[in-house]
Symmetry: C2
């Protein structure tokens, strides 16, 4: 008779939990997934997938101007929010069924309910208690109420509200920073809202390299989005069915009347997870894990948003971390490779930054060599009018090892894959410089950027 | 006094010649480029760049249907050929100036005229004779008259005619095979022509892996292009201002009346190049070179279409070969990496095949492991309605080394860069399987295909 009900219990059926469960089952484990809401988690139900579609739609709106330059003329362009949301609901419904199918195919037990840790190796779900050799916590993140409003002020919303909206607000105020909010800004603007976007920092995506973030800011402003850097909210109140927002920056105050205020701050779902039962601190910002996704409690793993600061809340970290956790739980010894971390904004232009920024590389003690190639000098870039596009490489000057690769422009998120492989495979500038990429592609600029870092760009003026 | 007029003379100022000249100059060479027509060659003037734009425009036409599904509605869509060609002329003019600037910046002498080899180390241009330590031949390829018509039959055209057309033919017959003709088929169809496309082989892109080429054929047919495999032209004649074409396949004859017949057959420009003066055969199909781009004559290199069969006429082989030739000419010892060769069709869906096909890998003696992941199971693929998309990997079963990677779908040509790096860096299936690519991207399916080849796909049903 087995000592435990399951070899592995995964608490949370989102992007991380599902990947962990499938991998553990592939390795022969008897696996359970505990989920009280929708399978697929934030990513599939309220994040990457619906917003991926919204950004695709807004990308198409943005492409109409380029088409006109090329003789493809569309008259009478309109945007229809309900058609967009209808397709989104169908898509998400189809994907949820897919996840259900994956669990069945891999003989994974789906337990409906909210899972709470109940001491080492035990998970309580309602009145039931299950035991497992290993437990993987994957409960993700949750919304944080904005600090600047007391209680619930109608009109102050997060991105969930956009997924069920009947119409979009006429004038929107966005407050915060990070790729998700930048994406929302562009979607709202392209679908007809007037957008004012304020952030406390000096720049959007302030942690990324300057050439990337300045080009993004310039592009968004050119598209008609108002950006207010170094700005704080002093007060929000209701005024004639609108929100009156009092903004303060160093040298001025501003008063805005808007229909909606959008923020998207999130934090790890640590409360009510029962981790005190094994001596872990549920008031922490997130759960600390090592590169094997182990908490400091033996046999207890954590993955995804639950074990990451907000700027590392990405579905691909969750699913990859899930696979690493599952492999370790089933007796292998594998590690998560943090060196290839990709941060993405699915805007037009897209932004994708892989590995270390220049600052991080310097702080890590590297003597840094940088190279870049603008997409405005790339033949396909010229065709696609990529005036704000750029590929930028951060490398170690001594051995030429690639440390970071940054992309802004069309297909940046797909090109980022080359950056991931280059860093993962420990490619050098010399190796990238001799890669033979197809012509004409935007990716060719990665090779040119590597040559630029070596002081021998071929096509740069 | 220097022994020669130049260290390196490059005969031909196309994609290959320009890259070779710049690289040789970077390495300290006194360099001349000989060109009698336009700088930039076929690629920039009549190939990749103008057709890159035409395909981008036809891609936008194709995206309008997806937009409609997502609530982005255009009430009227028209295509305007003259606007397209106007932008193309501006773009090509701008790029030609850019090449001129590159030559000046690198202090490269541009000699206007037709260069002919005149014995070892000598190039004749008109009445002038120049000497050089090394010579790089880069004269590219030229049109081959179709075998099935005697002399010049009006209405039988190649792709050059499309670049100056006032209007597009109402009904077009395309004959031949290969990515360029597939691209032309889609452009014509999207811009309003009726297209019938016949080829002698059993399949379009018949040398590529079956799952890729069958999906391409299915997509093109669904878009309204008529494909006639295993078909030969028996006769072409003028009939009432149209072309009457008599087609024959194994079991039937067919008669078509069309406005234009398009073929795009090309061969290396070996004639009138003076290579007999050093004992080389100008009647060969192309000039043979080793992996250092050296002909069998010391100090004489050849690059690009001049040294390749037609199915290897790609601008990126020319420019990369040019850099390799220049480095060797200037005393380095570098080799062209044929293992990462990419073949691309910029259609919608795009096709990009890197490295070995399954058949080539088997013929090379590998025990082959294959894995694939359809884009219809990829979250972004679902959003983008990539029902015909696929990523397919060919690997060596024993060590898991990646030998080939094939993509069909949106952004295939950009994703191909990952295939190039994987093969160049000698990545294994295990290494690809643990790459952490951003979500949602189509590129994620490369990782899933690697897992599939290892028998452990996570998300495939």
């Amino acid at each position: 008779m087995p000592a435990h009900d399951f070899d592995v219990i995964v608490v949370g059926g989102g992007a991380g939990g599902v990947a962990a469960a499938v991998r553990a089952a592939q390795l022969g484990g008897r696996v359970a997934v505990v989920e009280d809401k929708f399978l697929g988690g934030l990513c599939m139900n309220r994040g990457c997938v619906p917003f991926g579609q919204m950004l695709t739609a807004s990308h198409l709106v943005g492409s109409i101007a380029l088409g006109r330059e090329m003789g493809v003329e569309c008259s009478g362009v309109t945007t229809n929010l309900s058609a967009l949301l209808k397709r989104q609901n169908e898509l998400v419904g189809f994907m949820r069924q897919g996840v259900q199918g994956l669990l069945s195919k891999n003989r994974i037990t789906l337990v409906r309910g909210k899972g709470r840790l109940s001491g080492r190796g035990r998970v309580a779900i309602g009145e039931d208690l299950f035991s497992a050799g290993k437990i993987i916590l994957a409960t993700g993140s949750e919304w944080v109420d904005p600090e600047f409003v007391e209680g619930n002020l109608p009109g102050v919303i997060n991105s969930d509200s956009l997924l069920t909206a009947k119409t979009l607000p006429k004038k929107c105020f966005l407050f915060g920073n990070g790729p998700r909010l930048v994406e929302i800004a562009q979607f709202l603007q392209r679908f007809g809202s007037e957008v004012v976007f304020a952030f406390p920092e000096a720049a959007l995506l302030h942690e990324e390299n300057k050439p990337i973030r300045s080009r993004l800011e310039a592009a968004l402003q050119a598209q008609g989005i108002t950006l207010l850097p170094r700005t704080e909210i002093h007060q929000v109140r209701i005024k004639e069915n609108l929100l009156e927002i009092l903004l303060r920056s160093k040298d001025r105050e501003e008063r805005l009347l808007v229909d909606r205020l959008v923020t998207v701050k999130r934090k790890a779902c640590l409360e009510d997870l029962g981790i005190e039962s094994v001596g872990l601190d549920s008031s922490a910002e997130f759960l600390e894990v090592n590169e094997r996704m182990e908490t400091r409690i033996e046999g207890l793993y954590a993955i995804g948003d639950l074990c990451a600061p907000e700027n590392r809340h990405y579905s691909h970290f969750a699913s990859s971390g899930g696979i690493v956790a599952a492999q370790n739980a089933m007796g292998a010894r594998t590690a998560f490779n943090h060196r290839t971390a990709v941060r993405v904004a699915y805007t037009q232009p897209q932004v994708a930054c892989v590995g270390m920024t220049s600052r991080e590389a310097k702080e890590a003690g590297y003597e840094v060599a940088e190279g870049s190639a603008p997409l405005s000098m790339n033949p396909l870039g010229m065709i696609l009018a990529q005036s704000e596009g750029l590929v930028q490489i951060v490398a170690d000057r001594k051995y030429g090892e690639i440390l970071g690769v940054n992309f802004i422009g069309e297909a940046a998120s797909e090109m980022a894959g080359m950056g991931v492989l280059a860093i993962q495979m420990e490619a050098t500038l010399e190796e990238l410089a001799k890669a033979v990429l197809p012509h004409p592609t935007l990716g060719e600029s990665l090779v040119e950027a590597a040559r630029d870092a070596l002081g021998r760009a071929i096509y740069l003026p």
